[in-house]
């Protein structure tokens, strides 16, 4: 668990703080996304967790203990770190890059080598093909995979990720996001994730902290609650006018409570149960029908516009 207690940061030679009296908690095993417009202090906030930046006021507790209890370098070796520009060491092979923190911690060669191979496979790169290459021989997407693998190398309980999928095209980004969420289901790290993209925040976050100019915490809540109950004008406009649709994109048709079909369903459009409700709505509108048929567990069920509307009005829809 990470706890911010009245954390402020004012840079030298400036009289206005970039981070202003932040207090919030990130529960263990969750992804907390820091999101906001540029200049909102989200990266500064993240970098204060591993003390790349020291706060001017307040403190940050990790597992109940102040993060100043040990030296900055000791602390950083226990916290994964991945950034948008990746920052792979160009003069080191992929294996050596991933082994950076394990070798700082003095792991045995055999253990390190096994861990490197395991991580390469985990992020979808064949270890035999990539282990001995140099970063310049990899595509941008492959380099970002290596960057994430390197951050996870010593199995740190906490990871800091600053737009870790920012340097690739949208299609690759979506794949990397999905893969990472898949990995996170198993590893359950406590993750501080920085992005400027609200869609990425909604997709990746268990919790979202929306920051605004001057480093104020505008709202801290689950994506569902932020979308259904934005606290302020600022949050509402930041999440966008399509927030109802965004919320529907958090749910899958298969998870909806739908009535069974009572005959007469011929001619109705078929909707895949894996679709998000938002995509299903789009299909319904496209087919010109107000109802569709969803097949789930061998049973046919009816998806209606009314059901979707009801869902969009519900205050507290639960996530999958």
């Amino acid at each position: 668990m990470i706890e911010f207690r009245g954390v402020s940061k004012t840079y030298q030679g400036s009289d206005s703080p970039v981070v202003n009296d932040l207090s919030f908690e990130i529960p263990e095993g969750e992804i907390c996304v820091l999101v906001g417009p540029s200049g909102c202090g989200k990266t500064t906030t993240m970098r204060m967790v591993n003390r790349l930046i020291e706060p001017t006021e307040g403190e940050i507790l990790i597992g109940g203990e102040a993060n100043t209890a040990m030296s900055g370098t000791q602390l950083r070796r226990r916290i994964g770190y991945a950034i948008q520009q990746i920052g792979l060491f160009p003069h080191r092979t992929i294996a050596e890059n991933i082994a950076t923190v394990p070798s700082l911690l003095g792991w045995e060669k055999q253990r390190t080598a096994e861990r490197v191979d395991e991580l390469l496979e985990l992020v979808g790169l064949s270890s035999d093909d990539y282990r001995d290459r140099y970063p310049a021989e990899l595509s941008g997407g492959q380099q970002q995979r290596v960057g994430v693998a390197r951050a996870m190398a010593a199995d740190p309980p906490i990871m800091l990720m600053d737009e870790p999928f920012g340097a690739v095209d949208p299609i690759t980004r979506e794949r990397l996001q999905d893969e990472f969420l898949g990995i996170q289901q198993n590893i359950k790290k406590t993750i501080v994730f920085v992005t400027h993209d609200i869609d990425e925040a909604i997709k990746m976050g268990d919790k979202i902290a929306i920051l605004k100019q001057g480093g104020f915490l505008a709202q801290y809540d689950t994506p569902e609650n932020i979308l259904s109950n934005p606290d302020s004008e600022f949050v509402a406009s930041f999440v966008g006018n399509d927030r109802i649709l965004k919320r529907l994109s958090l749910l899958r048709v298969g998870d909806m409570d739908l009535d069974p079909v009572n005959g007469g369903a011929e001619g109705l459009p078929r909707i895949n149960e894996r679709l998000t409700v938002r995509d299903a709505l789009s299909e319904l509108i496209g087919s010109g029908s107000t109802t569709g048929v969803v097949e789930k567990d061998g049973k046919k069920r009816l998806l209606t516009m009314e059901a979707i509307e009801e869902l969009s009005r519900a205050g507290n829809a639960s996530r999958e």
């Binding site: 591993n50 790349l52 370098t73 000791q74 602390l75 950083r76 070796r77 226990r78 770190y81 950034i83 520009q85 990746i86 920052g87 792979l88 060491f89 160009p90 003069h91 080191r92 950076t100 923190v101 700082l104 290459r133 140099y134 970063p135 310049a136 021989e137 990899l138 595509s139 960057g147 390197r150 800091l160």
Partner: protein, 234 residues
């Protein structure tokens, strides 16, 4: 100017028109030529080594404390622009410094500083900021970042500087014979004094060959130090 006139006069007074007497070369090979080559290598190598020992730490410091860079460049640039013969003259006029290899080495070191410091700083500057940030974020200490990340990445540029400095030094070292520095320059001066072109040409050809060989060896080293750049994504 007068020395050049004298040289021309000496050369024109040569009676034997054969420029290279191979007999002289074979007769004096082990006695004169090899020691001259060794002496020249010694002068150049020691000078580059000392210059490097000064320039590397200076370059690292200057790249950290940027304000010091302009004055350092100014001073070393000034040294670099002093004519070599004048610098030798100035050095031997300092009490405590007698003619011989010492003032020559001091001068050669002085000439190398500008190139070596500038390339060290340029090499360190070229290390990507995000690479250093990632290193810091993973818990490398400042000295680990310097020795494991910054210097290895800057090394090819530093070695490129060593190449230029070495070639320059091997050339200037020949003039050092004027103040009894020894090396191949002595052979050239002796040849001029005796009006014996074989010695002049042998000395000149060997000094040139030495510079070329040193350049090629360092070029190979530069390539070797950058295995990551040899392979690129296809």
């Amino acid at each position: 100017m007068s020395s050049l006139a004298l040289l021309l006069q000496d050369l024109s007074s040569i009676e034997d028109p054969r420029l290279v007497e191979w007999d002289w070369i074979s007769e004096n090979f082990w006695e004169d030529i090899v020691p001259a080559i060794q002496g020249h290598i010694y002068l150049s190598f020691v000078s580059v080594a000392i210059a490097l020992a000064i320039s590397l730490p200076t370059g690292v410091l200057v790249s950290r404390y940027r304000k010091a860079y302009p004055p350092v460049t100014f001073v070393t640039g000034l040294l670099y622009s002093i004519p070599s013969l004048a610098l030798f003259g100035i050095l031997i006029s300092i009490p405590g410094i007698t003619i011989g290899p010492t003032p020559v080495i001091i001068a050669l070191v002085a000439y190398s500083l500008l190139i070596l410091i500038r390339n060290t700083v340029a090499g360190l500057d070229a290390v990507p900021a995000e690479t250093i940030d990632a290193a810091r974020g993973m818990g490398l200490t400042s000295s680990q970042i310097l020795f494991k990340v910054e210097l290895p990445l800057a090394l090819p540029v530093i070695v490129a500087g060593i190449r230029i400095a070495t070639v320059t030094i091997i050339g200037i070292a020949t003039i050092g014979a004027y103040i009894a520095g020894g090396g191949l320059g002595k052979m050239i001066f002796d040849g001029i004094n005796r009006g014996f072109p074989t010695m002049i040409i042998t000395g000149a050809v060997l000094a040139t060959a030495l510079a070329i060989v040193a350049d090629l060896l360092l070029l190979a080293l530069e390539r070797y130090l950058r295995p990551w750049a040899r392979r690129r994504r296809t």
